[in-house]
């Protein structure tokens, strides 16, 4: 988990379709409890699968869960990209 380069610090909302990131520890307080419970944990791998036609909500796969969340929530969850 800690092997990747700390190159890009961005949020889930800034992922491209198909791109993968890892949820950063520092945004723990910004993740709603419900999302945590659904597997959206710090350190977890998150992949953007699809963006809804009107750019919102977004469809992600995190920790094996396939979820749709709104971009306003996604923009508050910081991630680290591995590239």
């Amino acid at each position: 988990m800690r092997d990747f380069l700390y190159q890009n610090l961005s949020t889930i909302a800034s992922l491209q379709i198909g791109e993968i990131g890892y949820i950063s520890e520092e945004s723990l307080d910004n993740i709603p409890l419900k999302l945590l419970e659904m597997g959206c944990l710090p350190g977890a791998e998150v992949q953007l699968i699809q963006i809804a036609p009107l750019k919102d909500p977004i469809y992600i796969c995190v920790n094996g869960s396939h979820l749709a969340i709104r971009t306003e929530t996604a923009a508050q969850i910081k991630i680290l990209k591995s590239e």
Binding site: L28, D29, I31, P32, L33, K34, L35, L36, E37, M38, G39, L41, P42, I49, Q50, A52, P53, L54, K55, D56, P57, Y59, N63, G64, S65, H66, L67, A68, I69, R70, T73
Partner: protein, 703 residues
């Protein structure tokens, strides 16, 4: 049965096949109510575990955690915190999906900490090989300290083992927490919390504090002590976050030893289907086509059995009339009860077809894609992507639709959805629409493809949806409710729907609907018949009065009988009632007979057809038994000599029924869900005014 039945609560994440397991365990031994008075929160069934032991199984709403964020999830918490001997479960059966075991175990770990005997049933194990999953059940059992059963509810495998596990679990009555979690976060803090009450487990006390949900059995001093923990909210929140992370750490440790996935076997059917169904153009086209198919089939497929039922009841009425001696009772039966019941039975085919489509859309996982596609659009109208499901199921019945809004966490979005759902064309409007359309719209094809009547029906649906959306926008801009919005929905894997689930769903919903509406209609048709067969002194002297008027004209006797019957109806109690509101509804093109139907259909819209059927049968000659449609088609407006149900009147009625809030059951459920009479009253008045004004405009323009 020798032993007292075991009370089992069935809990699991949504989309884990929980309902199918419930159906497999209980078969047709279930009780559900979808009508006010009967609660929909609880679905119960009896399961025969062994020769001497039964279980009462309660199916709780699907949830990801017992920390509720929506109304249906809070039902789960409430049930579990109950300490009442009659209602609290003896055994909890947690259903998990083998593919999402990690996330499902979070809920399991919470349940386990309540210290109630718990069983874990891992479902869809028939998929394991295909997905490259392997599980070490014996180690998992040991690690989780619980009964673990692998099942395939779909293939009816492992059901016997679940039953055996329930008995073993109940006998052993072994209940220990899994994580003992809270000690590790802040030992002093949780030690103090545990001191408050010896009657509850630590986790139960923690839930009461964090969820502000206190069972009735808790004492005042205990409650005060618990409330003192609520002072530091930020600490509570922090500890809840920590708790969840800790639970996942423990689960990961356990799964590392017991659960293996060979990722090379993963298939990408899901992503291929997602690319199509959530495509920015095709996604919407497919959604629209599905809606079009649903509505066309309601009108086309259902018309055959409906005509058959209509004819059947007319024949039945005739048969009874011939078989029974003349008298008050026969009149009540043939003019009151039989046409009244016919008015309900006639639209069973349409409801069944609607529920069938909705059940299939939900079962396949397609509905979540619609939520995903529609969320941004719906938000502009003050709603939520999840509002689409109530709006679509509102086309069957507003009552289950309003209950379905419980999954919407945001109160403002939920309230708006509840308020606008009754605009969608529910199946109770269908008989009214169907009969009026058949009377005023010619049965021709456009472009040799679309049935004109079907297209008119489709535009009435569009009118309903359009008004619902528009009303949502107005409410969004005017309602001043501050409610924090958070939205998440799982996108489940695509599934081939289970025939059993779909079948049960359709049967259950149709049954609840028919019996619910049937009772009202039966009662009303008896009342109606009585009010139509009794009246003032003019009513009693009808024959004398009519003969006096007609002395000079020398009418043939059957003409005279008809005149007497009309005169009687006009002077009956119901006639007087209709006449009293005639001045108000005359500008809309309605006469006093339609007025009677408008009054009675305040109970439920579909009563309109039955009422007119009853009125026209009372009025008609005894040997003149025809279908409802024929009766309405032959009704003449005495002022113009034209058909009563001509184009302007028909259109005016259609629009009136599209907008008016004519359903007592819906008003009752809105009161129940919003906990005040304010919102149902706003609906009643607002929709009534809209209906009156629109009908007025339509009739005045067309006539």
């Amino acid at each position: 049965m020798a032993n007292k039945p075991i009370k089992v609560a069935l809990i699991g994440n949504p989309n884990t096949g929980k309902t199918l397991l419930f159906n497999q365990l209980t078969g047709l031994n279930q009780k559900v109510g979808n009508y006010p008075g009967v609660t929909v929160d609880k679905k119960e069934g009896v399961s025969k575990l062994s020769a001497t032991q039964n279980a009462i199984i309660t199916d709780l709403p699907g949830t990801y955690s017992i920390n509720p964020t929506s109304m249906d999830e809070s039902i789960v918490l409430k049930t579990l915190l109950k300490k009442d001997i009659k209602e609290s479960p003896d055994v909890i059966l947690v259903v998990a999906d083998v593919e999402n075991l990690k996330r499902n175990l979070l809920l399991f770990s919470q349940i386990k900490d309540l210290e109630i005997p718990t069983i874990l049933a891992i479902n869809m194990v028939d998929q394991m090989h295909k997905k490259g999953i392997s599980i070490d059940v014996s180690v998992l059992k040991e690690e989780l300290n619980t009964e673990v059963v692998l099942i395939s509810a779909k293939k009816n495998e492992g059901i016997k083992e679940v039953k055996e596990a329930i008995i073993r679990c109940h006998v052993a009555a072994k209940a220990s927490p899994l994580c003992g979690i809270n000690h590790k976060i802040d030992p002093d803090y949780f030690a103090k919390l545990k001191e408050i009450s010896p009657n509850y487990s630590l986790y139960e006390l923690w839930l009461m504090v964090t969820q502000n949900n206190f069972p009735e059995t808790i004492t005042a001093s205990e409650k005060a002590a618990l409330l003192s923990f609520k002072q530091d909210i930020s600490k509570l929140k922090k500890y809840q976050h920590k708790e969840t992370i800790y639970r996942y750490q423990e689960i990961n440790k356990i799964l590392k030893k017991t659960y293996l996935v060979d990722k090379s076997k993963a298939s990408d059917v899901r992503s291929k289907l997602d690319k199509i169904f959530t495509h920015k153009i095709f996604g919407y086209i497919i959604f629209f086509l599905i809606l079009l198919v649903i509505f066309q089939s309601i009108f086309d497929w259902a018309s055959v059995p409906m005509d058959f039922i209509d004819g059947l009841f007319a024949n039945f009425s005739e048969l009874v009339k011939e078989a029974l001696p003349e008298g008050v009772f026969t009149d009540l039966l043939t003019d009151g009860i039989i046409p009244g019941i016919g008015g309900v039975v006639i639209f069973i085919p349409q409801i069944a077809i609607l529920f069938l489509f909705i059940a299939i859309l939900e079962e396949t996982g397609y509905m979540s894609r619609v939520v995903f596609l529609m969320d941004k659009i719906m938000r502009r109208f003050g709603m939520n992507g999840k509002s689409v499901i109530p709006l679509i199921s509102g086309t069957a019945c507003a009552i289950p639709a309003i209950m379905a809004t419980r999954t919407i966490g945001n109160w403002k979005e939920r309230l708006i959805t509840i308020l606008v759902v009754p605009f969608t064309t529910c199946s109770a409007r269908l008989p009214v629409y169907a009969i009026l359309i058949a009377l005023i719209i010619p049965d021709t094809k456009i472009f040799g493809l679309f049935n004109l009547q079907g297209l008119v029906l489709l535009s009435l649906y569009a009118l309903g949806f359009g008004t619902a959306i528009l009303a949502g926008y107005i409410l969004h801009k005017t309602l001043n409710i501050n409610s924090k919005s958070f939205f998440v929905i799982e996108m489940p894997n695509y599934k081939i729907p289970s025939f059993k689930n779909v079948f049960f769903e359709v049967v259950e919903k149709t049954k609840a609907f028919v019996f619910g509406a049937g009772k009202i209609i039966l009662a009303l048709s008896i009342v109606l018949w009585f009010l139509a067969s009794n009246g003032s002194s003019d009513f009693k002297n009808a024959e004398k009065n009519v003969s006096k008027l007609d002395v000079s004209q020398n009418l043939p006797s059957d003409e005279l009988d008809k005149k007497i019957a009309s005169y009687k109806l006009e002077n009956s109690y119901i006639g007087m009632l209709g006449k009293s509101i005639e001045p108000v509804i005359r500008p809309l093109g309605f006469d006093w007979k339609i007025g009677i139907a408008l009054i009675t259909s305040f109970a439920a819209r579909e009563v309109f057809v039955g009422t007119l059927a009853t009125i026209y049968s009372v009025e008609a000659n005894d040997d003149d038994v025809t279908t409802i449609k024929q009766k309405m088609a032959s009704e003449i407006n005495p002022e113009t000599g034209e058909k009563r149900f001509n184009f302007p009147v028909g259109m005016s009625l259609l629009v009136f029924y599209a907008f008016a809030m004519q359903c007592m059951a819906t008003l009752a459920i809105v009161k129940k869900e919003t906990k005040t009479w304010k919102w149902p009253l706003i609906q009643l008045v607002g929709m009534g005014l809209l209906a009156y004004v629109s009908s007025l405009i339509i009739y005045q323009i067309l006539s």
